[in-house]
Symmetry: C2
Subunit: 341 residues, 2 copies
Amino acid sequence: MRLKEFAKQVGLSPTTVSRALSGYPEVSETTRARVAEAAVRLGYSPNVNAVRLKTGRAGAIGVVMGRAGEFHFAEFMAGMAERLVAEETDILVIPMADPNHEDEMQLYRRLVESRRVDAIIVHSPKPDDERIALLHELGMPFLVHGRSAIDVPHAWLDIDNEAAIKRATSHLIDLGHRRIAMINGRPGATYALHRDSGFRKALQSHGIEPDAQLIANGNFTDELGFRFARSFLEQPNPPTAFVAGSMMTALGVYRAVRSLGLQIGRDVSVIAHDDVFPYLTADNMVPSLSATRSSMRAAGSRCADLVLQLLSGRSALEIHELWPVELILRESTGPARPSKP
Amino acid sequence: MRLKEFAKQVGLSPTTVSRALSGYPEVSETTRARVAEAAVRLGYSPNVNAVRLKTGRAGAIGVVMGRAGEFHFAEFMAGMAERLVAEETDILVIPMADPNHEDEMQLYRRLVESRRVDAIIVHSPKPDDERIALLHELGMPFLVHGRSAIDVPHAWLDIDNEAAIKRATSHLIDLGHRRIAMINGRPGATYALHRDSGFRKALQSHGIEPDAQLIANGNFTDELGFRFARSFLEQPNPPTAFVAGSMMTALGVYRAVRSLGLQIGRDVSVIAHDDVFPYLTADNMVPSLSATRSSMRAAGSRCADLVLQLLSGRSALEIHELWPVELILRESTGPARPSKP
DNA sequence: TTTTCCAACCAAACCGTTTTCAATTTTCTC
DNA sequence: GAGAAAATTGAAAACGGTTTGGTTGGAAAA
């Protein structure tokens, strides 16, 4: 059913019907009610493409999806979905081919030109992320999930990775650990740099020199967690504690520790970062996992919220949120034991 | 830059320009090349909303996202993205409020009416799934990922859950296990029913009566895996083997078995279903996990492909794919040990 | 040479809304 | 009760493309 026909059925002009449904003030409450009722009864709803063409709004927020298939992604999106469900806005997932730099820029450029989205959420930014510069230049509203040091005004939401890891590391030091290993995320991303920085600062403020042999970077997979942990533990002077980048990494670390006949929380302490997944909880691991915790879902929800604010006119300059991260101590951390000679 | 202006720049009519860019035959190769070059140079690309309004195509495939935040979801989407990256089609994620039945139907109805998507992918169908009936009735092209017994013609892609679980269970029986527990997915979904059926058939064909005390249903979380496994193992007549619905469930089962001082692969055998995640691999678990395996990502990719076929005119009746599932035996399965009296 | 046909191009209608501007009715004000 | 102001409603012009149904000029056929 089209507007024209529907209007005829109701006995009004298309103009009035359109206004009634969009909540304009210049239509009487009586007619509005009548129109609304008829719309439900006759099953009329405006053609979205016509509305978009006319208003210039796309009614969607874009999220570029890399090929890595990160498990965080689903939680973030679920959070966005939670916030957007009552809104007339949906989520457009844009597939990204290769992480080829040239192509990626082209992808964003085309995305903006095609006007398919009203705003974009940029993930895992780098300190000098060119996507941010590009989007700013093109005048597309966007929000960065994470942070960038780039000298371009932009809205962002991030968790305080540096403080979180610094605190976690300090706690391990307070427990007497001196050889602490760090399994970080992919190199280059700001969050990984911040975590690295937090790690180093904690060590240095206690007079411990970071050992490059105990620092690793890579994807958040159980496999890398295992491999790195295992190779660290097989070194002549092995670590007595680990800071792990994700729950999956932690699973790998647990395995590595066990596989060497060591006991977590006694021989080796572990703190991981937990994005809070419904399907894998730190509290349930054995022994339960001490973690720096921040809900990815909440971040998704809030990001969606901030994007809506951005779209309704709030300045990007005002939108900067740095979320504190909880440190939750459980059984995977304990005092350092005197090292076996 | 708009078509009108761009056409003027090139010295042609909007008609010809439009045709040149859309590859119509009635435009000479010379002009087409000229137009294409100018489009790149001047940065012209058609306004997507105008195209959609005019052609009636939305250029997007819809996927409804539940609130559960399933970890499979990201992999499936990554697969879709892989297939769609070269296409002019993107993925629209539609947030679903509550799994309230009434609302859900309304959501689908509105989605169809608003013409935001060209096709929809339906997940985790039930045997008599009303979404399928509705979409068929409304004439919206759709593909079901999973299967339904509903008497309405529709395209689907599914993995052979029944055969997979039947084979897994039979293998456990062949190893001498008689008390086998099953931790299945949420009740109601066809896949869960198929798995249940495969489980029961395997038992019955070996003369074993399924024990309702050893069958559980629920979300695929490590927590439920742990709880169910633990409660089963604490029964007077505990199982010696488990069939687990997912990798997360398997993690929980592993923990439960260990927590009771038992050894996986020796005291208790485990087979789980593995959707193949880059971040958590069955082969890396300790002991490595025997699994029925089928790539969720491949399914996503193929589903996107089939939807494109559907949209280019292929009949839904022709599109039925039942994928076989591999059974990969590793260390988590072993011969049943004589039960302790 | 005339007619026919075809390749290449164009003018204008249309997709289904929103919104400007104007018209009409109703309500106030004095 | 007249005139002004306010509240409603409508006609028609966009929005930016695609597509129908021509028109044109030159090559091929007669």
